[in-house]
Symmetry: C2
Subunit: 1023 residues, 2 copies
């Protein structure tokens, strides 16, 4: 986006450039007065006193309402030729909001409703964390046409039908929109699909056998994808047209699914080595027999239903159809949509799309009929009727298709059986004659209809007949089809009953939805694989196992080394509820975490007993969006023996994983040394000394009671160091102002690392009655300032991480505190941490879902940061170019990220943190309103008025806010409160900046604070 | 709700009570093994490794999908007699979520679209803060029928049409649902409406003149309300039926608006002294002339249109209507709906509602026609057709009405002009004959229709004619109506053109919507007032001024005294961006805040200059839900002179408001004393010493550099105390672990109060590239750990407030840190604060909207807490009985709140905070699943499995989670993560509790930790 355009757009509005120039600070009295004047002038539309009734009669209301109308109603006939997408895309903000609303159900009933069984809950969790790659990988693993399906799936009868929040007022999660957005953003990353390199590279010759796939539509592309992923090297798609995509790129209107995205999916298939041969039509350019003769071992038919049904089963209408087909104003749905499609998308082609006018009638009520009806509007129709034989109770069109058509004003005319096209002398259809077709029974579940011999005709200017499609009437088809005119197939495998080498899927077998066709191709791929391998003498496991989506991102090395120990990834569980027992740690290791700090244990004499209840959501967040908890849980209730004996067990099974013992004693040398010696009998790889437990233990002189004094902390570290050679980590409390002092003491006394930080003592919001939401003691209902974890802790913990990294370079850091997403992992690593401890995110969901998200997100961030092209387009990691300051977007070669590891990343971005007094005071910014995005809410105006410098004007009547640069100090409160991503940019000022001191500073005022800064070159610093 | 039922419901499910009893800790080996076994058994349905494709063929998918279907499709015919509300009510969670999505636009275009001009943005902000009273007060002030209108307003053509987020994917805010919920919750509080006591109590005799309102429908009730609020004491409503509510309580189907709520609105009118006389019909029981003779000075006609139109304007159909009206299966819409209504709501009445069957045809396409159609389904129809003359492009039914009817399977048959009812020999209608009525032109904006003389008939079992209604054909009507058969009215005033004492509103003048009728009554009330007063010789201001909604809640005294100074309310602005200049402070005073702490100023020699940008949203919250900011702004850039001279100005205008000077110097006696002496020349009421500014100043040895050592803090306090007698407040830094130590030092050295707390140094989330979202310096893009404010600070600041209140009883406390809502105000006050400083909430929006919310919420909380009846029903303040532990809900007489002031509240609930070691370890809780609320997501299961004790079973197949009490330790993580309010309760255990120590503790294990607790009496502690 050209920000210079933004700026000039603002100037074009009239007031952005030149107002309020009377300026100057004047005398002090004048200065004060001037402010008072501004107060009146600028704050006019703002609320002052509320909830006083307003009187406005109903006629006046109607006029106001009209003037403020922000949703001009759809009018179909204004849509001529407008094939831009008519359902708004979700913004990233909306997507995160919607994803947050998803419950992430354990059993994920949505997944059961998805034909391709996408792990929906998981990708929605990724989206909530803005992990676009993670989401796209989940989607494309199960459904190679995830983008198209996101656009076209009728989710109200698939995944969303099963959604657990369907019954709530806000209804099912908009899974399709989320899916579409995630894959779209991934598409923009431009990362090609590769075959998973962890699969065997050398495969038997059977994988080189030629395989033919006929039709590059959804079923065929899906089949080819999975064959390619399995390692088949000789897969050929034969497509009769000149491009792939099938119905999506030949018939479905552009306002529902743009072709560019379908073609991208075709490209992804080719990235696996699949070859596509265009202009090759079965039955015309080649035959099945020929394919077999050429050695194709297995053939998949994904040909759809290409021939329109022309009413042969209707002997009454049939004779007049034969006449009508020659009329210049008669179309069948297939020809109509295809021709329009080509003219819209491939201008200059010989086919000219029909220009319609007047009354266009569509016969039929299927999805295609409604596509025709909406397209007819766009091609010039003034009135469109969809006429059908049955009643509304019987139509299958789902809301996704029906509603937009209704909004455009399409007429639905039920109970009308067409019996004749009326033609004039010139052979043009002038009207259609119907017989009233009424139900002959009343059973609402099984209505039967009868013509009633009551005839009427309706004049038409154009007519589009949409009676469905069928298999072509060719010889080879006769051999494989059933009596219902569909291919005879074994649904379990996709194998035709005619030939054991011939598989089929999609419309040709009566599949209902696009996504079902994708699934048919997926299903067939496995059984084609089985057929080929078994016919070549290999056995195939009974349980199907298909390879997932893979790219170079998955190959990013995220191993790390801390305390001399190499880890495959930087993620582990913190000593906290998720490490309450060894089975839980076992599960975490299986999920992918590379280390775990066991729950802190102590000597038997210090045994603890927890109260109940003891874990709360922090800050009373009614939406429970943020994984933030308050807890008054103590250290483990298990014996030291459990932890020592269990360590032996688990290290046997996971010798490569890192197990860290967490120890706690009071300030007593013999206790610390006894406990350490006992722990030494177990194969712990390191010890973490818990000198920071925020509650309960400190009252006994343990935990943070031992960690808030650098002397005490140092002393304990020395005691433990005396009896072990294992690496020592000190877990630091945030309840002491200077983490760097504590870290220095740790380092000076023999520790290798610190964990930054433990939880901070805080109180979660009580009820308005002062009671906790849940409290201890049936009568007392008590709680205590407890360890506050998760998102609310992150600003403080991240600060301490960066402080220590800057000031105590010798110590290594385990980051901890609100690491929910891969973005947070990046923050901690780039600000100094080498490994990361996770807790709240797991408490909030489960270990495996969280791990997948963290891993894919971290890899994607590192990968994208390393790509100059993406960086200069404005990407920041996998964060697309929205919502931040885009000044001088040059590839950051200095702190350049390489994709081969994260070691180079550690502490690499500390340069962005600076003491305030050293910061630049010669470059001041001012907001610029992006009128393409601004929703005109005026929140920037409100914030600036009541919490800034009254430098924004807003007349509150469908205008955009105007920035008064002379008054703006560039504080950025407007940017902070703006609820719309990218609606405000902070850009260099275009006017001189002088600080308003309220009164004229006297002669002794420090000269360095009499500041006047000339504006920067207007063009230099913008993109 | 009976929680005992919950418990027994759980038992009824089979596994809640008796499983997993093999128990015991066994030997250590066995113990470990047992955990491993459980691991396998319990974690089966959980995710472990993700994003591997699954294979499942399409037929199998369909079967799965069916089994997991959670949204059984509507089937109209199954709805017989189901008049329960068919649109789900919003839950509190959903409401807060939806309210958070609202932008709270400054110009609030929604308000311009509301007929009654409700301040929508303001009530939505209240809802976001769970301030139900505040919201209801805003709504009912402008619209006394706010609940009914919330249920019935077609917002897509009113407020929501103007919504600034209409264009986003998620669409306009659901204003109606929010409105409905807020008023419903307020209704449950049971607080009657009173006349605002601040209005003149003694009014001239003209206010005693009798006023007649004819019809207790929406227009009449609204008119009577505003007259009552103005002080009229002799207002009489004459209503022909036996109850009020008009169309809402006589015709509109119960599934759209339950009568109980309409009747509550009638009650509210009576609370103002309005008398309602039932069974009094104009023209039958009395005449307008009689009213005048009886001395009624002004009369309002709110009679609606009571007589169905019987097709007189259709000469073709008319003759057969005359026959059909006598048929047993013919209804007009009005009689049909009224009769059904009575039979549904007033069972036992003589009128028996029609029992329908077979095919029911409704003629007409208005809202009433669709009400008839849906009601017909509920009365037994198997098939319903709505037949109308025009096409879909022309129908006005909006989505709110049209969609639910479509979902029920109603047939819409356009282009059909009825021409004859066919009757059989017995006089029953057997069919309706139509003529095909087709457009004769193509202009989509102005279609004209023609009958085409093509006739067809459709058999019917019942027919309902819905051709609209009209004024009764009576003499008195003739005198006041126009040629269009509506009352002839001056729309601006609601005055009839026939009589200057006769006003009218609602359907009788062609008003479109219910809310417009309410507005008509409101409009007329003012001009009736004007007429009466002027005719009695009083003058009335030109600008209308109507009194708002008022209750005893508004009378709650929230004055407070701190540092010896009485304040009218405890709210003031913190020394922060909202007090950047005096005009801003002036506006805050006007809005209601009782005090303000000016931005910290210093000696000229310490002058500062800010960098740009310097204010950020904390924690990268993409939804910007929480008012939490990070800032690196310094103290004021204005001179000390500005603050001193300006103080003189503002105190002149606001002598009653409290102005607090905020001072900062380095650790130098002469500086502090010089600055204080200069400040002494201004009329500041108190001083706040800023010893806690978190960034920038500390590097110069100021701010928190002077506040993190009790000695230094005490020294500075002494220096200032030496040169002033004004109260001193020390603003405390949270960057020191023990606020109580600092507070004690302040107290010991002459301060009266502390502010708890200033902001805490933290870093907001950077982009994944390590850069801040916006940074200082075009090249460097830097930021610094800055003052972190708002919601994320609250847990920490609230802890410090309670710590100081407990440990330093001599000091007074200004609470500060994330006080966004009235609930937070309650927390701070009950945990020790006497006054409250606001900043982030104002930064996030504006001072006035925030003040109104804080004030009304605090008052409502105090009022509700003082009501025994509400408390014992489970209310906590204005927090309705949802979402918390309801054990032993007895009125808390000990800490009882009285409604006469907040002084008694200060520090009154500290008893709920206890040191952990003193808490109860004999009463353990366990979760109970509330199957009425549980959405079966299994999040509790996941959290318990990976972050708890594996004490929940969940088979993931439409079952509810099962609690295994033997394994449960009552930690409450399940309760914390449950996304559904009230789906999990923590209740006393029903089984013995023994702590599992992992291995059998040895003989030396401390005896007090070998715990076995018998279950509590099952019944004693539940409600």
């Amino acid at each position: 986006m050209l920000l210079t355009q933004l700026r000039s757009a603002q100037f074009a509005c009239g007031t952005g450039g030149g107002c309020s120039t009377e300026g100057g600070c004047g005398t002090k009295k004048k200065s004060l007065t001037r402010y008072n004047d501004k107060h009146t002038e600028l704050m006019e539309p703002m609320p002052t006193v509320l909830a006083k009734p307003t009187l406005r009669n109903t006629k006046v209301r109607e006029a106001y309402s009209e003037e403020f109308n922000r949703t001009p109603h759809c009018a179909g006939s204004t849509k001529v030729n407008d094939y831009s997408r008519d359902i708004p895309l979700m913004s990233i903000q909306e997507a995160v909001r919607e994803a947050s609303r998803c419950l992430k159900c354990n059993d994920a009933p949505c997944q059961q409703g998805c034909s391709t069984t996408i792990d929906i809950k998981s990708f929605i969790y990724n989206i909530q964390n803005k992990n676009w790659y993670g989401a796209a990988k989940v989607i494309l693993s199960d459904n190679p046409l995830g983008l198209t399906c996101g656009q076209l799936c009728p989710i109200s009868e698939l995944c969303a039908r099963n959604c657990n929040v369907s019954h709530t007022e806000q209804g099912a999660i908009k899974i399709n929109r989320l899916q579409e957005l995630a894959v779209r953003i991934f598409k923009e990353m431009g990362v090609p699909q590769i075959r998973d390199p962890s699969l065997p590279k050398v495969l038997p010759p059977s994988y080189k056998k030629p395989i033919a796939i006929i039709g590059a539509g959804p079923a065929g592309l899906s089949c080819a994808t999975f064959l390619g992923r399995m390692g088949y090297e000789n897969v050929h798609i034969f497509e009769k047209s000149q491009h792939g995509g099938g119905i999506v790129s030949h018939e479905i209107p552009q306002n529902r699914a743009p072709i560019e995205e379908a073609l991208w999916e075709v490209e992804m298939v080719k990235q696996l080595g699949v070859q596509i041969h265009y202009g090759k039509q079965l039955g015309k350019d080649f035959t099945l027999t020929e394919l077999r003769e050429q050695g194709f071992e297995s053939v998949f038919l994904g040909i759809g239903l290409q021939q329109p049904k022309m009413g042969k089963d209707d002997p009454v209408l049939q004779p007049s159809i034969k006449q009508a087909v020659n009329a210049p104003n008669f179309y069948n749905s297939k020809d109509f949509l295809t021709t329009v499609y080509k003219s819209v998308k491939f201008e200059g082609r010989p086919q000219e799309a029909p220009r319609l006018k007047g009354h266009v009638m569509v016969l039929g009520i299927g999805d295609t009929a409604l596509d025709c009806a909406r397209t007819a509007f766009r091609q010039g129709a003034e009135r469109v009727s969809v006429v059908f034989r049955r009643g509304f109770q019987d139509i299958r069109a789902n809301d996704e298709i029906f509603d937009p058509a209704r909004w455009e004003g399409i007429n639905y005319i039920p109970y009308s059986a067409p019996i004749q096209y009326k033609l004039d002398a010139s052979g043009k259809v002038t009207a259609v004659e119907f017989d009233k077709n009424l139900p002959k029974n009343t059973d609402p579940k099984n209505l039967k209809y009868n013509k009633t011999n009551q005839k009427y005709e309706m004049p038409v200017d154009f007519v589009i007949q949409s009676f469905g499609c069928q298999l072509p009437e060719e010889d080879w088809v006769q051999k494989i089809k059933k009596t219902d005119n569909l291919v005879d197939v074994d649904y379990e495998t996709g194998r035709t009953r005619a030939y054991d080498w011939l598989f089929v899927g999609g419309d040709a077998i009566g599949t209902k939805n696009l996504v079902d066709a994708v699934n048919d191709g997926k299903t067939a791929s496995w059984f084609m694989h089985k057929q080929i391998q078994e016919s070549n003498g290999f056995s195939v496991p009974t349980t199907p196992k298909l390879p997932g989506f893979h790219t170079a991102i998955d190959q990013v090395d995220i191993s790390t080394t801390i305390c001399g120990v190499k880890m495959q990834n930087p993620f582990g569980l913190a000593s906290a509820p998720p490490t309450t027992s060894y089975p839980m740690i076992r599960r975490a290791f299986e999920s992918g975490y590379d280390f775990a700090v066991v729950k802190t244990f102590c000597l038997d004499k210090d045994a603890v007993t927890n109260v109940s209840p003891r874990i709360y959501k922090v800050a009373g967040d009614p939406l429970k969006l943020e994984p933030s908890f308050g807890n008054i849980e103590l250290i483990t209730e298990k014996t030291a023996e459990y932890w020592v004996e269990g360590a032996k067990d688990i290290k046997k099974d996971f010798p490569e994983k890192v197990l860290i013992g967490s120890l706690m004693c009071g300030f007593k040398k013999e206790d610390w040394q006894e406990l350490t010696r006992y722990a030494n009998t177990a194969p712990f790889d390191m010890y973490e000394l818990n000198l920071s437990c925020p509650h309960g233990m400190n009252e006994k002189g343990m935990g943070r009671a031992c960690g808030e004094d650098p002397e005490v902390l140092g002393q304990i570290t020395r005691w433990v160091r005396e009896v072990t050679d294992k690496p020592l980590i000190i877990k630091i409390t945030p309840n002491y102002g200077y983490a760097e002092t504590l870290a220095q003491a740790a380092l000076d006394n023999g520790a290798q690392a610190v964990t930054l930080t433990n939880t901070m003592p805080g109180l979660q919001d009580p009820l308005p009655s002062g009671e906790p939401l849940v409290g201890v003691g049936l009568k007392e209902r008590q709680y205590a300032p407890g360890g506050t974890t998760g998102s609310v802790l992150r600003p403080f913990s991240l600060r301490k991480c960066s402080d220590v990294a800057k000031m105590v370079p010798g110590i290594e850091i385990f980051g901890s505190g609100g690491i929910i997403s891969g973005d947070h992992a990046m923050s901690y690593i780039q600000y100094g941490a080498k490994a990361l401890q996770i807790c709240s995110a797991v408490q909030n969901l489960d270990a495996a879902t969280v791990y997948y998200d963290l891993e894919t997100s971290l890899k994607a961030n590192i990968y994208c940061l390393g790509k100059q092209e993406l960086y200069e387009k404005g990407w920041r990691g996998q964060f697309p170019p929205f919502g931040f300051q885009k000044l001088g977007t040059k590839f950051d070669t200095e702190g350049k990220v390489v994709t081969k590891g994260i070691t180079e990343l550690v502490a690499s971005k500390l340069k962005h943190i600076s003491p305030l007094e050293k910061m630049n005071r010669q470059e001041f910014l001012a907001p610029v309103i992006n009128e393409d995005k601004c929703l005109q809410c005026g929140r920037c105006y409100l914030a600036c008025a009541d919490s800034g410098y009254q430098a924004i004007k807003f007349d509150g009547y469908n205008t955009f806010p105007k920035i008064v640069e002379a008054d703006c100090t560039g504080c950025a409160i407007c940017h902070a409160v703006c609820p719309v991503q990218d609606a405000i940019f902070m850009l260099p000022r275009t006017e001189v900046y002088e600080i308003n001191r309220g009164t004229t500073p006297g002669p002794n005022y420090p000269q360095e604070h009499i500041i006047r800064v000339e504006p920067l070159s207007k063009e230099k610093h913008r993109i």
